[in-house]
Structure formats: C-alpha cells, structure tokens
C-alpha cells in the first residue's frame, strides 16, 4: 500500500483558512470574558487576506493532487478569490452587527471560515466526494449561522427550515451521485466524462435519473425555481450578515459545483439538460421578479431578487458556451459586491431592538442619510442592470452569451424580466427620495468596519461597471481548462 502524494502547498489556502478558524476558536476559549470580540474578526480578516495572497501565488498553474480529488485550476482559483472576498466583506459587516445583536461568539467567526472552506472545496473539487463534503461543510456551518440569533424566533425558524430542506436536498443529491457512480463506476469527474464518451452512455436511463437528482441537489443550493422556496424565509430570518453571505457565497459555491459537474463530467448531456435549464431559468427569473414586487420586507425582497438573479445566471448556463461561463463568473463577482453592499446598508439602517427591515422604514432617508441612500441606490440600480454599474455589465455578458447560442426568446424574456425588476428596485429609491419619513430613524451607529465594507462594495460595483475588462479577462482566463 502506498500513500498518495500529499501536496500541502496545493491546499495551502484552505489550510490557512482552517487554521485561522481553529485559532479563533481557541482564542475565544481562552479569553471567554472579553467584552468586545471584534479582534476575533480582525484575526479572521488576517487569515482571509493571507489565504487570498497565497491564492494569487497559485494563479496561472493548473495543479491537481490527492488522487485528482482536489484541483487548483483557474476556475477553482477564481472562485476561491470570490469566496475570500465574500468572506472578507461578510466578516467586515458582521463585526459591528454581531456585537449589536449580542451574538458575538468566536464560533460565529470560525463557522464563517469553515463554510468558506467548504465553498473553496466545492469549487476546487474534481471528485464528487470532495464536492459533496465541501457542500456539506458549507451547509452545516450555514445551518448553524442561520440560527445564531437564538432568542429570535425567526432566526431559529429559518435555521430549522434551511436545515430540513437542506438535508432533504442532500438526500436527492446523494442519490444522484450514487446513480452516477453506478452508471459509470467512478466518482472522478474526468473519468466519468471519459467513460461516458467511451461507452457512449448518453441514453443510459440511470444517468438520466442522476441528472435529475443532481439538478435538484444543486438547484436547491442556487435557489432556482421550484427548489427556491426556502430562500425568502431563510434570508428573512437569518442574521442579516449571514443572509448576505448566503445570497452571495452559497449561491456562488452552488454554481461552481453545478458548472464543474455538469460541464466537465456530463458535457455529453447538454442537449438533454438545456431545455430543462431553459425552463428553470425562465421560471426562476419570472417568479423571483414578480413575487419580489409585492414584498414589504427588504430582506425578503432581496431574497426574491437573488432568486431572479439565479435565473439570469442560468441564462448563461443554458447558453453553455465559454462566453456564458465566463459571464457567470463575472456575474457572480459583480453580484457579490452589489448584494453584500445592499445588505450592508440594511444592517447599517438597523439598530439593537429595531431592525428597520421594512421597506417602509426607508421612507425619507434619502436626504437624512444621503450617502447611505446613495450607496443603496447604486446597489439597487446595479442589480436592476442600469449602466454604468457592475450589474449591467454582468447582465450584458450573460445575455450576450445566450444570444451567441441563439436563445433569442430566452434573452428577450430575460431583459423583459429585468425591466420588470426595475419596478421594485425603484420602489425603494422612491421611498428613500420621494417620500417623507413618517417615523424618524435616529441614533444609528455606523461601525467603521461596515462602512469600510460599504466603500469596498461601492468601489467594486463601479469598477466592474466602468472598467469591466480586467475582471472579464480574468474570468475568461479562469475557465480555460474547464471545457
């Protein structure tokens, strides 16, 4: 028996994250009575930055290790960068928030790091087991984080729902993996693909069925109709910082695994899945946008909007060309900035006791907190796809990919959807700028970390809108090995 080659440098970013996760736990254990624990956050930030830097050293080289279970190719690296950015921002916005909400445990930060680890594994896994374990690591941490506000009924309910449905979805995902395994006798994506082509299993019912199961499993994570129904509730109930984390990180991770599995393991089945994905994409966009219109809670509204965005991304998924894939990466990046930014504003507008998450609470803040409102406007417009903001460019690439593959009706539906979406994004700006506030919101305390996060988000959104070229070429380079 021989040990496999163990290349720790390969997984150094993950190791760093994990190590800092445990470090935080330990420090928390040894200084239990510390009043303010934001230094824990800072430690996490250090860790993230380190791992980020290390990730950059890995750029350009495609290495694979652990019997091909873990690969660090461009795709993985892009997503790692993305996840690290998301984690970075999340922790920034958490530092003030958790303290305010009295959930400032070391575990909180540690779990964020662990789930980040899970995401990184999902994007880097080229073996179904890695992907599965990564997904579980992420999910379980998120289940807990969602329920962090223990005396808030809604938070607990969110945790419960997310947990049950998540486990349910996991069951389906597993069955899918099992069938895939049964049909091909392998769990390694590359081998699966090769085996399918060699044996020409394109009509194998078992594989078909596993496609169904996998679609469910991943569709759940990216919140696509009809597997989306957990999203609004969980997003609304969970702590806002975690909502931001879920809306961006989990979605992105889901997509990374989704793309990885479908494009590199089952590319032969594109004709089969395309039409289904077409359907799902349309349904996702439409449901998300239409239901968002009649929401009163901004977190819930953003939840529906994030469903809609999943739909837009799926447009590129349907398109299936490399334009589309790079478009997806770009989209996820832009979405991370604008969405976290939006949630940051939501956080900043709340205070202990009153969350101020009703859209009506936003009345009149446009001139009371001009900068806050302005940044919110930027994020919302970006989500609505108004140039020159990141959201527009993202939509632009995604749709252009679909046009390239001649899915004209899909694109038309998509753009009409984004026109509809404008309505509810505008609603917020209407309230912020056009209405006088009937209820004074005072005594807000802007934690510097969150403000910093806000600035980063704004810069990111604008940058990706005005100078998209760099990020785009990064994305395009990243998908080189994938297909």
């Amino acid at each position: 028996m021989k040990l496999p080659e163990i290349d720790l440098y390969l997984i150094a970013p993950e190791i760093i994250i994990t190590a800092f996760g445990f470090l935080v736990l330990l420090i928390d254990v040894f200084r239990p009575r510390a009043e303010k624990k934001s230094y824990l956050g800072i430690i996490c930030l250090i860790g993230i930055v380190l791992s980020f830097l290390y990730t950059f050293t890995q750029m350009g080289s495609v290495k694979s290790g652990f019997e091909g279970m873990f690969t660090s190719d461009g795709f993985a690296l892009f997503f790692k960068v993305l996840f690290l950015i998301i984690a970075f921002l999340t922790i920034l916005i958490s530092m003030g928030y958790v303290q305010r909400e009295g959930i400032e445990f070391g575990e909180y930060y540690a779990l964020i790091l662990f789930s980040t680890l899970g995401m990184m594994l999902m994007s880097a896994g080229t073996h179904l087991i890695t992907i599965f374990l990564g997904l579980e690591t992420m999910s379980i941490s998120i289940y807990i984080l969602a329920g962090m506000m223990r005396e808030d009924k809604r938070s607990i309910e969110a945790a419960m729902k997310y947990f049950l449905l998540g486990a349910f979805a996991t069951g389906f995902l597993l069955y899918g993996i099992a069938l895939l395994y049964g049909a091909t006798g392998s769990l390694h994506l590359k081998e699966v693909a090769d085996y399918i082509t060699s044996k020409n299993l394109l009509k194998n019912p078992m594989l078909m069925m596993s496609l169904v199961f996998l679609t469910i499993g991943f569709g759940f994570k990216i919140a696509s109709v009809p597997f989306h129904m957990w999203t609004p509730d969980v997003y609304e109930g969970a702590p806002t910082s975690i909502t931001a984390f879920m809306a961006t990180g989990v979605k992105a991770a889901g997509f990374s695994a989704f793309i990885r599995v479908f494009f590199s393991a089952l590319p032969g089945f594109r004709p089969d899945w395309t039409s289904i994905m077409w359907l799902i994409s349309v349904a996702t966009m439409t449901v998300g946008n239409i239901v968002a219109i009649s929401q009163e809670n901004i977190k819930r509204m953003l939840a529906y909007s994030s469903i809609a965005h999943a739909g837009y991304i799926l447009v590129a998924f349907v398109a299936g060309n490399d334009l589309g894939t790079s478009g997806i990466l770009f989209y996820l990046m832009a979405y991370a900035f604008m969405n976290i930014g939006a949630f940051t504003v939501v956080i900043l507008l709340g205070k202990k006791g009153e969350e101020n998450t009703m859209i009506s609470d936003y009345a009149g803040i446009g001139f009371k907190y001009p900068l806050l409102a302005a940044s919110m406007t930027i994020f919302l417009l970006s989500m609505a796809g108004i140039p020159p903001l990141g959201g527009f460019m993202a939509k632009f690439y995604v749709f252009s990919a679909a046009v390239k593959s001649k899915f004209y009706w899909l694109v038309i539906i998509g753009v009409l959807n984004s026109a509809v979406s404008v309505y509810y994004y505008l609603r917020v700006t209407v309230l912020m700028y056009f209405r006088e506030s009937e209820r004074e919101i005072t005594g807000l305390h802007f934690s510097p970390a969150s403000v910093f996060a806000l600035i980063v988000a704004i810069v990111g959104t604008l940058y990706m809108g005005i100078f998209p070229a760099n990020v785009l070429s990064f994305a395009q380079r990243s998908i080189a090995g994938l297909m």
Partner: protein
C-alpha cells in the same frame, strides 16, 4: 449445488430483511409516537445492515449498527425524551391535500427511479475489487480510506468539528 444452496439462503435472507426493512420504514413514518418511529427506524437500519453483510461489506454493516442504529437513533430518542413530545394529535392525520398529492408524486417518482435502475443493469466500469478481495473488505476499506480517500477523511473531520461546535453554540444556555 453448493452455491445453489448458498444462493437460496441468500435469497431467503434478502427477502426477509428487505421486506422487514420496508415494513419497518413504513411503520417509521406512520407511527404517531415519535419514540416508536425511532425504534422502528432502528429495526430498518438493522435490516439494511444485514443486507450490507449480504453485499460483503461487513465494516459498513458494523458502522451502520454502531453509528446509525446506535448513536444517531439514540441521540434522537434522547432528544425526543428531553422534549417529552406528546403523540401527534389526531388532527395531524386530517387529509392535507398537499401531503396526499406529495406522496402520490413521490410514488410516481419511484416509478422513475425503478425504471432507471431496472432498464439497464449498472453499466459502470468494473474495478479490481473482486469477491476474494472483498473477503477481507475491512482491510481493503482501511487501505483505500487512508490512501486514496485521505483528503476527504481530513475534510470530514473538520466537518464534524464544525457540526459539534455548532451544536454546542446553539444549544448552550445564555451566559
């Protein structure tokens, strides 16, 4: 002749365990009292463990018994007792259409699954671990686990840690 007998026995065991497991699992989801459900789940797990043995993976069978039937279900039972949950009330049985339709859909879905698994026999690549290797499946398993699957093994440890601290942070009392 000999393997005829063997096969026959295998069939008998299989049928027995299989039907029992189905029966038990049906009971799991029908018993009003969660405790009963839990106990029937133990039964299901045991039957499945038997099948594992039939499938020559004794180790998993043991794990099944220890971890599942042992740890998890005990944990569940423990929690149920902790919360001393009453039986589900009658109104729980009142027909809720979504549930009926849901079950119906699930059955349709079952047809799909069955079709997919029966239509063609598993066409996967046949590996090296033939029967006589499997005689010592535990050893083989260990080898594979700690060589090829080393990395996932590490990962799952982190996963478990996360789960544990999560469980702790959730259920510990307020300071």
């Amino acid at each position: 002749m000999a393997e005829n007998i063997g096969n026959l026995f295998q069939w008998l065991i299989f049928l027995g365990a299989g039907f029992l497991s189905i029966l038990a699992s049906i009971l799991v989801i029908t018993r009003k009292n969660p405790i009963h459900s839990a106990l029937f789940m133990v039964l299901t797990f045991l039957c499945v463990a038997v099948l594992y043995i039939l499938l020559h993976s004794q180790f998993i069978a043991i794990i099944q018994v220890v971890v599942y039937a042992g740890a998890i279900v005990m944990l569940i039972v423990f929690v149920i007792m902790l919360l001393d949950l009453e039986e589900e009330l009658r109104r729980g049985l009142k027909i809720v259409y979504s549930k009926v339709i849901g079950s119906f859909l699930a059955l349709i879905f079952l047809l799909g699954i069955l079709y997919s698994v029966v239509a063609r026999s598993p066409a996967g690549k046949v590996g090296v671990y033939d029967l006589d290797k499997m005689k010592t499946s535990t050893k083989t398993f260990g080898e594979v686990l700690f060589t090829k699957y080393l990395f996932p093994f590490e990962v799952v440890s982190i996963l478990l840690v996360a789960a544990i601290i999560g469980a702790v942070v959730l259920s510990k009392r307020r300071r």
